[in-house]
Symmetry: C2
Subunit: 640 residues, 2 copies
């Protein structure tokens, strides 16, 4: 803690104690002090972020490429964390041991929410006065104390882990969904889903098993504290990738759009997958926490959990997105951009909250809400609101991301529940690399059997190399740090995140050059991290992600989307009156706006954020660039 | 609480207890439940705000003028609060009484931060098993329990009062400073400062004294619980006005700019004054809390507190604002609008935090930071950042304001510490009206002695009528609700806020018509609540706010601002090389940018957000409208 605060606090305490009027004033002083410490903590992070912003500017200005902004945030965090830790420190938290009154009626096995603590004032204020009457204070539940001897619960520059899940992650994930390049995402959907779903589960399983093997070879004390479920949980939390750094470099260098889409899409989805997967493992653990062994019913229930929670969360998010689209289509709220933007923000956060209230995964809901908002609602918004929402979420995303990376750095020194175990750390580094390899290479091989054009070898290497770990891994690791096993996981995860972000992130440009991945492709209006508009320069055929079955499904979805959902939810043409079967036409007429009839096809096309949902759509695409020009999809793979 | 949650929680508890594995799982379930209740609370407010936004749209669409959006938010809040209160409710908070261990070494008069509670599991899980070992839990300090019998600490849809001061108020106040129409503000500075500083203090004193008289006439139980300081504190918290509703109507109807400036400027400043004033009263109370009597040294110290804290906070805010201006002037961070906006947001919030860390008033700091950011930094920003910061703070302000009014409504029913005392409530309504009258009429009379043109009678009536109470009063009232006196104050304040916002706000349009205040004046680019640009249609002379002395001061400040501060902090001309004395020219050359030399006067003028700081500036003003046209300042007062 800042020495100023410490000395100020001591003075306050002394004043409070000497002044004679007893506990009230001392309590007020303590409340003021706590408030100031909170403010100081926030100020530290605000200053760190300001410093990061200024340094990023210097780096961008001088075209420094060997360190990226997230790496920078981590390094600043580490430095400040070390200063906070080793500069004058006094532990200001006071303790007292207590036990229940003898005549208590409380009769539950769960500890109570509130302890009403009868505190006798032990200091006689002055010899003449009567003793101050005992007072009763409310104390609220905080957590279990595992090791009573080790009594240092430290308040230094740390926040409640729940803050990450409720405040920091939602805007990041929403922004990822909102600025997803849906055209290339859907074009590479097969590969993305394979890597994100199958790959993440596979990676979690491989890392979990290998780690379990490793801890068995280690000293007995360590081996005893890890069950297979613990290591599996570690596998699940270390599997999601966070390729911010790599993608920022990709968009600077204009790397091939399909590679970009694969890495971005995979990382967006595998965050969601890992979150649901770790929840399923925890549920499994809860059901059979006695020995941590394997039981087939519980395993099936866990898989059921995973599928159920994932798809219900997806549904909630998508429904809220569509609801917002309907609200913006059928009201004229677009005449007041401020109201419209407020509505947009509120419903998007509402999607997160609804999912959380029903014990689903808010992050998954907010991701798919973001995708739907971009695909449908965005088209109904006024120009002002489009701009405003994009810029707002871009800013929130920037601040939240840099905050989390700064926090990873600071907490490395200040978070009290770190447990450094060299063997576990080394094993963690090796297995997480192996897990990434198991995700990419075998699955790419399998995908290439049915995919044309195949994923070339240098792309596979780059996919492997982009396996940086980030915000989601850290947030999952810091959520539960009760046992020693979990603390070792947190430490290892923090170190893996720091190492990959700083080292791999810094080396990404060189890796691109070394792997001879083509850069400088003309993505015409590609702004860094802004929703994607109108990149329609590829041939409308000759690429796909799988065999006939999958393509048929994609085509079906494309037809539903363009004939039913888009006309229903946006002002897009053709109107429902043309696409619905005859007996539903009256309904279609009600759901079609005047604007939909009067507006020309072209003007709508232009306003759409990313209108080409799907490959092989039979619709006439108003290409402004000749589809036979050299810049087509094969260009991206041309160097193989 | 929602019945769904209640039943779900019971099921969870039952499952947890029946399942046999004891406390761990039950604790996890409880944590999950608490998280869901938090999410549900947030969801309630999110839905309420969404509803408010949609209804505002309907009202704007149908041009409803008898109810404004803040009134609407309050009414929706009241309805939902009543539903939450009377729909199925179970108090889920569990208690246990505890006392310190006999052998404890703790030796302070302050209760400890953490109670380490040794909790014996009272339920034998099954007859065969050994008793589960006792566990120790950490409980953190929450507050004093005054009445041990009345043990209902309720968690229904309420938040920590500190949230208002740390999260809700800062963006509202910053936005007020950022979009302050500085030209008219400074033109009416004398009147605004008189009303805000002298008037608020006078009003607090009058209300405090009258209320003290009133409570003495009331039943003895009530009289005993109020000291003079209590009623004075009430006077301070009920004095600030919150004219959101009135001002929104003013800008719709384009009411006279000087009246607008007076009401807006006064309400912005009196929020800050009231906050510092109430802090000074509390400090006074702390110093002499024994009998609440009057002591001259403590009184002087309180006045010293007031002046010192106000001016230091002002200084902190202004310095941070100027620092941001320097950073944006001398770096090229404007080439990356995202970085620039992030920097702007971070430094502005930093001003708030720095003031709080040094025990000053963050709200005052953030207000003056906002004014400086608008006056200096805004000119250095890129067009993208200008737009982005304006829109961001507009949106934050909108959401925060509507949240606080919704919360006032909901908490009327759900906040557990209301104390309805009809006499106190009636007295509160009457004295707060009187206090407003004492603020406006005598001070206007005094101001009119030295002011030309004088403030006409119908303007005075409108100033009186605009005395709505709002967010700041409520936030101050809910901050401390320990004693019964404070609870009665909270209830009265809530009712006054609700009544004035709904009734006075609804009647504002009629009041304007009844008082024959001219409307429909051509403020050319006056967007509701956006920073003000280039309204320079008045004659440059013939108005001022006082005698020679004040005008000279204003002129001096104007000269310093245009010759030293603007050239130093922005790219404005004339550059420092022309305005500084000869021996400082080399320094001036360092501090002048190339842009400053090369850019023409006009292009800068155009980009300035509100360039006319001061009356009677000798600079040539590039008027686009003939200064002799009928629309001049006397027009506003023409109907008298």
């Amino acid at each position: 803690m800042n020495p100023v605060v410490v000395s100020a606090s001591l003075i306050l305490y002394l004043i409070a104690i000497c002044q004679g009027s007893g506990t009230d004033i001392a309590l007020d002083a303590k409340a003021t002090l706590l408030h100031r410490i909170d403010s100081l903590n926030l100020l530290i992070y605000t200053c760190l972020l300001t410093l990061t912003v200024l340094t990023i500017w210097v780096f961008k200005h001088r075209r420094v490429s060997w360190l990226h902004e997230t790496g920078l945030a981590v390094i600043y965090g580490l430095i400040v964390g070390a200063i906070i830790r080793y500069a004058g420190s006094t532990n200001q938290v006071t303790y007292i041991d207590a036990h229940p009154d003898a005549d208590t009626k409380y009769n539950l096995s769960v500890p109570p929410d509130i302890v009403r603590f009868h505190f006798p004032d032990k200091i006689q204020i002055s010899s003449g006065e009567a003793p101050v009457p005992n007072k009763t204070y409310a104390y609220s539940f905080r957590g279990e104390i595992v090791n009573v001897e080790q009594n240092e619960i430290d308040l230094k520059a740390t926040f409640d882990p729940e803050i990450f899940f409720n405040i920091i992650l939602p805007p990041i994930i929403f922004h990822a969904g909102y600025c997803l390049k849906r055209k290339y995402f859907f074009r590479n959907l097969g590969a993305i889903l394979t890597f994100a779903m199958v790959g993440t589960a596979l990676s979690a399983l491989v890392i979990g098993s290998l780690m379990y093997g490793c801890v068995q070879l280690m000293p007995a004390s360590l081996a005893a504290s890890f069950t297979f479920l613990d290591t599996l949980y570690f596998g699940a939390l270390i599997s999601p990738t966070d390729p911010l750094t790599v993608l920022a470099i990709f968009s600077q260098l204009k790397v091939d759009v399909n590679l970009y889409a694969m890495i971005f899409g995979e990382s967006v989805l595998n965050d969601a997958v890992a979150l649901v997967l770790s929840g399923a493992i925890q549920n499994y653990e809860k059901r059979y926490s006695v020995d941590g062994g394997f039981e087939i019913t519980a395993f099936l229930a866990a898989i059921g959990d995973f599928i159920g929670i994932f798809s219900l969360s997806l549904l909630v998010g998508a429904l809220i997105g569509c609801l917002t689209a309907l609200m913006t289509k059928f009201t004229h709220v677009r005449d007041w951009p401020l109201l419209e933007s407020a509505l947009f923000v509120l419903t998007s956060y509402g999607a997160f909250l609804i999912a959380e209230v029903f014990e689903l995964t808010g992050v998954v809901a907010v991701l798919f809400c973001g995708i739907c908002q971009a695909h449908y609602t965005y088209n109904n918004l006024s120009a002002d609101s489009r701009n405003r929402t994009k810029q707002l979420f871009e800013l929130l995303n920037f601040l939240a991301e840099n905050f989390i990376f700064t926090y990873i750095g600071v907490s490395m020194f200040t978070f009290p529940k770190h447990h450094f175990d060299p063997w576990f750390i080394i094993a963690g580094f090796l297995t997480s690399m192996l897990g990434r390899a198991v995700n990419i290479y075998p699955l790419s091989f399998l995908l290439n059997l049915g995919r044309k054009p195949p994923i070339p070898m240098n792309f596979q290497h780059m996919l492997f190399f982009s396996g940086l770990r980030g915000a989601m891994s850290f947030a999952l690791a810091i959520r539960n740090t009760v046992s020693e096993a979990r603390q070792a996981m947190l430490t290892t995860t923090s170190l893996i995140v720091i190492a990959t972000v700083v080292l791999q992130g810094g080396a990404a440009t060189h890796a691109l050059a070394y792997l001879r991945i083509p850069t400088g492709q003309g993505q015409n209006d590609e702004n860094e991290a802004l929703p994607y508009r109108d990149v329609r320069s590829d041939t409308p055929h000759g690429n796909g992600d799988g065999g006939g079955e999958k393509a048929r499904l994609a085509r079906l979805w494309g037809a539903v989307d363009s004939k039913l959902l888009k006309p229903l939810l946006t002002h897009a043409r053709p109107p429902l009156t043309e696409t619905l079967p005859a007996f539903l036409r009256p309904l279609g007429r009600i759901l079609t706006t005047t604007r939909q009839y009067t507006q020309s096809e072209n003007s709508l096309r232009r306003t759409d954020s990313d209108s080409d949902l799907c490959i092989d759509e039979p619709q006439p695409v108003p290409t402004t660039i000749d589809p036979q020009l050299p810049y087509n999809i094969r260009n991206g793979y041309g160097n193989v």
